[in-house]
């Protein structure tokens, strides 16, 4: 009962429409956007030595004052612009995919399951059942693997392929055991009945370690 109530409460929080924008909930229109912006900025800060805005026009266009709003208060100084604006521009480049990832993460909250992201390390043998080459969609790669799996020659060819780099991890899921009737009552932790926000298992970048009970959902995208 407590588990179902908490599940419905979380669903209500995530999907309650906003007063101003009925199409999106407050969570999606406000919290997710702000969180995505913060995370992208954190990413830009972490990679500040690697990434920079692509060209000056992009930077200059953003630095020009708004003609429709000439008296913008608290105009940053030139030094501040040099320090902060490139990071924010880099952050804006990754904001879209981070926002989408956050939405997916929020939707996966309501499943009483454990997820795990697996990065095949370079040098590992390519496995078409758990990996897909870059440029192929998940469905195409699966069909390709099924069609070519019967051919011994290509199977041997695939067996000789090795992973150069993992571009995107694979996703595995493990269904959590639902509390049976005898487990309800005294001795059951309240946290076991609540929606678990950190439902992604951390670490475990290599395949085959601590993967008992997990099943594949999304294959990893790799370069071979």
């Amino acid at each position: 009962m407590l588990s179902e109530l908490d599940l419905l409460a979380c669903h209500s929080i995530l999907s309650t429409p906003n007063d101003q924008d009925n199409s999106n909930s407050y969570f999606h229109s406000k919290i997710l956007v702000k969180t995505a912006s913060d995370l992208s900025l954190s990413l830009a800060n972490a990679l500040q030595g690697v990434l920079s805005p692509s060209d000056d026009t992009m930077l200059g266009a953003d630095l020009e004052p708004d003609p429709f709003c000439p008296q913008t208060p608290a105009t940053p100084t030139q030094e501040d612009r040099n320090q902060t604006e490139p990071r924010s521009l880099v952050a804006m480049a990754f904001e879209e995919h981070i926002l989408r990832a956050l939405k997916l993460k929020a939707n996966l909250l309501l499943a009483r399951s454990k997820y795990k992201l697996v990065f095949p390390h370079p040098g590992h043998r390519f496995d078409a059942t758990t990996m897909v080459r870059d440029g192929e969609s998940q469905r195409t790669g699966s069909r390709f693997a099924q069609l070519n799996g019967k051919r011994n020659g290509e199977q041997e060819l695939q067996g000789r392929l090795k992973v150069k780099l993992c571009l995107f991890p694979g996703l595995y899921v493990r269904r959590e055991e639902v509390l049976s009737g005898k487990e309800y009552g005294v001795g059951v932790n309240v946290r076991n009945c609540l929606v678990e926000c950190d439902n992604f298992v951390k670490g475990g970048g290599e395949e085959g370690r601590g993967m008992e009970g997990f099943s594949l959902v999304v294959r990893a995208v790799v370069l071979v």
């Binding site: 480049a93 956050l102 993460k105 639902v178």
Partner: protein
């Protein structure tokens, strides 16, 4: 009194025979008093003409020593007057019955007894009779005696004579007032015994004497033989009771009437009887109202107790039925205890019920899982989302400029500090960032792919493996108290919440 009267003494015989004893009793009970009471309303000598002041002192000096005064209580006076009423009712000679029978007494005793009876009659006459201006007490007494001596053979003549006497006087109070007195006495008297005299005469004329222990009088004096008529017996009882000591008579024979009659006497001996009656009626009405209230309260209590008894009886009946059912079941179980077939059937039913229970639990779990899965995106939608995320990530990486070699050296200097990039690199390849970059360049991997992989690792770390949106660690004192209350009441203390690293907390 061993002397048995002859049958010719039909009416007056018992009176004549018993009067000496009556007077003896009367003499013993009417206690003479040497001193005059200060103000006793019961003193008959004071009622006609109270004497005060010098005249009283002169009269004391001139007069001879007076006889000891007699004091009759109100109840005794009523009995004496009731005797007069009885005599009038049954056409008896009052003088013969009450006064002349005192002839056996002599001297002082006779005078004392006569004065007591006359005083009572005088008082009754004063209270209930005509006013003193109309007729004197002596005239009243003579009139009554004359009337009683009239020819008893003709009832019509007797009735006419009575009517004449009444009309001449305007009213005939003794009879009626005594009726009132006897009625009151009847109301206050205890119920008659079952074996009391039920003749028409006694019932009609002397109802107040039904509870006067008349049977004791018969058994006491005559032992059941030569039973006198009630007409003669009742005056004897009247006189006897009137002559008994005031204390014993008032408390034993007429306790309630005595208490009832004491009220008007304490007010004033000169108060008119109707005023005393009003006071008495008021007191009685108040008493009646109080008793009515008590009766209502008692009735309510009785109804409540009856309801309670009814409820308890119902419960008792139900409990008895259940007890019988249980006993029947026990008997049946004892009979079927060794029945193998029944035991096998019970085992089979038990197994069926257990299977049904397991099925229901599994169905419930399936339903709850289905309800939960309906809120969760399917695997296909997850795959599509992953493709879109990867596409967006690539777009982002292509929209920025990458300066890889220079940065790789820079990250080498930070190996000891465990920067996020280094952690992501190890997560991705198991190598340091410099090793990762060097290997990627050797494998002809473009910078965009390197940054894409690194960004994907960063996304997995910052987004998916974070605690977002973590509602639990939010600071809320009320929610903390609520959780603590639930934990202390419902579950044992739970372990501390897993500590989230600052890098993962949003």
């Amino acid at each position: 009194m061993s002397r048995s009267p002859s049958p010719c003494f039909t009416l007056f015989m018992p009176v004549w025979l018993r009067l000496p004893r009556v007077i003896r009793v009367c003499h013993g009970s009417l206690i003479p008093r040497q001193k005059k009471p200060s103000c006793s309303p019961a003193c008959p000598e004071q009622w006609p003409s109270p004497v005060t002041g010098k005249m009283a002192r002169k009269s004391k000096r001139n007069r001879k020593p007076q006889l000891p005064r007699l004091y009759l209580r109100r109840g005794d006076r009523i009995k004496v007057v009731a005797c007069l009423d009885y005599a009038l009712e049954h056409d008896l000679d009052l003088t013969s019955v009450a006064v002349n029978n005192l002839d056996l007494l002599k001297g002082r005793e006779r005078k004392v007894a006569e004065r007591a009876i006359h005083g009572a009659l005088r008082e009754e006459y004063r209270n209930y009779g005509r006013s003193e201006g109309d007729i004197s007490f002596q005239t009243f007494l003579t009139e009554g005696s004359t009337f009683l001596r009239y020819d008893r053979g003709d009832p019509e003549t007797l009735r006419d004579e009575r009517r004449r006497v009444i009309e001449s006087g305007g009213q005939y109070p003794p009879r009626e007032t005594l009726r009132t007195t006897t009625t009151r006495s009847r109301a206050l008297a205890p119920h008659p015994p079952a074996g009391s005299d039920t003749s028409g005469l006694s019932l009609h004329s002397t109802p107040e004497f039904e509870g006067f222990n008349g049977s004791m009088a018969w058994n006491d004096d005559r032992s059941g033989e030569n039973r006198p008529s009630p007409a003669a017996a009742v005056p004897r009882q009247l006189l006897r009771s009137a002559a008994v000591s005031p204390a014993s008579m008032g408390e034993e024979s007429f306790p309630q009437s005595t208490r009832a009659e004491e009220v008007p006497e304490t007010v004033s001996p000169q108060t008119p009887i109707h005023a005393t009656h009003e006071v008495h009626v008021d007191a009685l009405e108040k008493e009646l109202a109080r008793r009515a209230e008590e009766l209502k309260a008692a009735s309510r209590t009785i109804v409540q107790q009856q309801d309670h008894i009814f409820t308890l009886s119902n419960r008792l009946t139900a409990a008895e039925k259940e007890c019988k059912e249980i006993e029947r079941s026990i008997k049946k179980a004892a009979e079927l205890k060794d029945n193998v077939t029944v035991q096998a059937n019970l085992r089979y039913e038990n197994s069926v019920l257990r299977d049904q229970n397991i099925k229901m639990i599994s169905q419930r779990e399936v339903i709850s899982k289905a309800a939960r899965d309906s809120l969760v995106p399917t695997n296909q939608s997850v795959r599509e989302e992953f493709d879109l995320i990867l596409a967006g990530l690539k777009d982002g990486c292509s929209s920025v400029s990458i300066t890889m070699p220079r940065v790789a050296r820079a990250f080498d200097a930070d190996d000891l500090n465990e920067t996020p990039v280094l952690a992501w690199s190890r997560r991705l390849t198991g190598l340091t960032f410099r090793e990762f970059v060097a290997g990627a360049i050797d494998d002809n991997i473009s910078d965009i792919h390197i940054i894409s992989a690194l960004t994907a690792t960063a996304t997995a770390d910052l987004v998916f493996e974070s605690s977002f949106p973590d509602f639990l660690p939010r600071e809320s004192p009320m929610l903390d108290q609520y959780r603590q209350h639930i934990l202390t009441r419902g579950t044992p203390p739970y372990p501390q919440a897993p500590s989230h690293s600052n890098s993962n907390r949003i």
